[in-house]
């Protein structure tokens, strides 16, 4: 395999992606979505995408339609390319899910504080009455906290489910994602709204600090494991 770093590979990938013309980019995007539906090792996936974008560019320069190159079946080509490729274990998938979950909470917390600086804050009344601007202390009920946590959790689950290889067409993925999101969110909201939960107080900066630290730790762990496994195959 090539002896260049992941950062460098990503840089090349982005540059080459931008160089693709619309029709070539369209097929590349389809291939990217298809490959992403497999739980491939992150480093292996980058290598594969680099390989594919290179093929697309090479043919673009020669004005050869990609349908001719892939015999009108890009999925079959991708299947051959990813055969025997390094994949994530179930534990790594679980770790990825937790990482996504924590990252969403972390980003939502920051977003919430940023929103408090705008007039929009008044429309977020259901999340608490104390403006974080005054002492950076945000009162939140356990019930509100549950709303706050369950939403990103369901989104993460839906994203994970929509990435399953089972779905062949992109439109189907979208429909299933949307139905899953609406159904799960409605059910959870219905139950949470009817639960008598006690009120607790949590400073928003503490939520940001804790979720930020956990996200950073999980990020290092997740990519560390991925890199270690990838290097073992080199």
């Amino acid at each position: 395999m090539m002896t260049i770093s992941l950062r460098e590979k990503k840089k090349i990938l982005n540059t080459e992606k931008k160089a693709l013309r619309k029709d070539y980019k369209k097929i590349y995007t389809k291939m990217f979505i298809y490959i992403s539906s497999f739980s491939l090792n992150y480093y292996t996936r980058t290598d594969l995408l680099l390989e594919i974008v290179g093929i697309c560019l090479e043919n673009q320069e020669r004005n050869i339609p990609l349908d001719d190159v892939f015999n009108n079946d890009y999925k079959a080509f991708c299947d051959t390319m990813i055969a025997d490729s390094l994949r994530m274990s179930k534990r790594q998938k679980a770790l990825e899910l937790i990482l996504q979950f924590m990252a969403i909470i972390f980003l939502c917390s920051i977003l919430f504080v940023l929103l408090s600086f705008t007039p929009l804050y008044n429309s977020l009344g259901s999340f608490g009455n104390n403006n974080p601007l005054h002492g950076w202390y945000y009162t939140i009920t356990l019930k509100d906290l549950s709303y706050y946590l369950i939403n990103p959790f369901i989104i993460s689950l839906a994203i994970l489910y929509s990435n399953r290889h089972t779905f062949k067409g992109e439109f189907n993925v979208f429909i299933i994602y949307f139905i899953l999101y609406v159904v799960l969110f409605s059910i959870s909201m219905f139950f949470l709204a009817n639960l008598p939960l006690a009120s607790i107080s949590l400073p928003i900066y503490l939520i940001i600090l804790i979720t930020g630290m956990i996200t950073a730790g999980l990020y290092c762990l997740f990519y560390g494991i991925q890199k270690k496994e990838y290097l073992l195959t080199q």
């Binding site: 080459e16 560019l57 390319m81």
Partner: protein, 112 residues
């Protein structure tokens, strides 16, 4: 009519390795050379998975070199393991070739 595709596919890996053994080359050039020697039905779609597999097996190594057309292009070179693999492929091919010939030509006459 006999379908030659399967027979050609089986030998494609060795042939690609032989082309890489001759010079530093890249995917499209390999395909062109294969077409020149008689692999008419070959598309790039069939070559790249084989190149990837050969690379995973450490039979070839790759490097990105600036192409005269613009972006970086992946060039392949054969490794020591690849040279051994190529040698064993060729020995195997010669054996199959002579075995088939024994069946079809006995004592110098066509037995068909």
């Amino acid at each position: 009519m006999f379908d030659k595709t399967q027979l050609m596919r089986g030998s494609l890996e060795g042939c690609i390795l032989k082309i890489i053994d001759k010079k530093l080359t890249y995917g499209y050039e390999i395909m062109e050379e294969l077409k020149t020697v008689g692999f008419d039905d070959i598309s790039e779609g069939s070559i790249y998975p084989i190149l990837l597999r050969l690379e995973k097996q450490k039979n070839i190594t790759s490097q990105l070199i600036d192409s005269p057309l613009g972006p970086k292009r992946k060039y392949y070179t054969i490794s020591e393991e690849g040279k051994e693999y190529l040698q064993s492929f060729y020995e195997c091919w010669k054996h199959i070739y002579s075995t088939v010939n024994i069946l079809f030509y006995e004592e110098g006459s066509d037995s068909q």
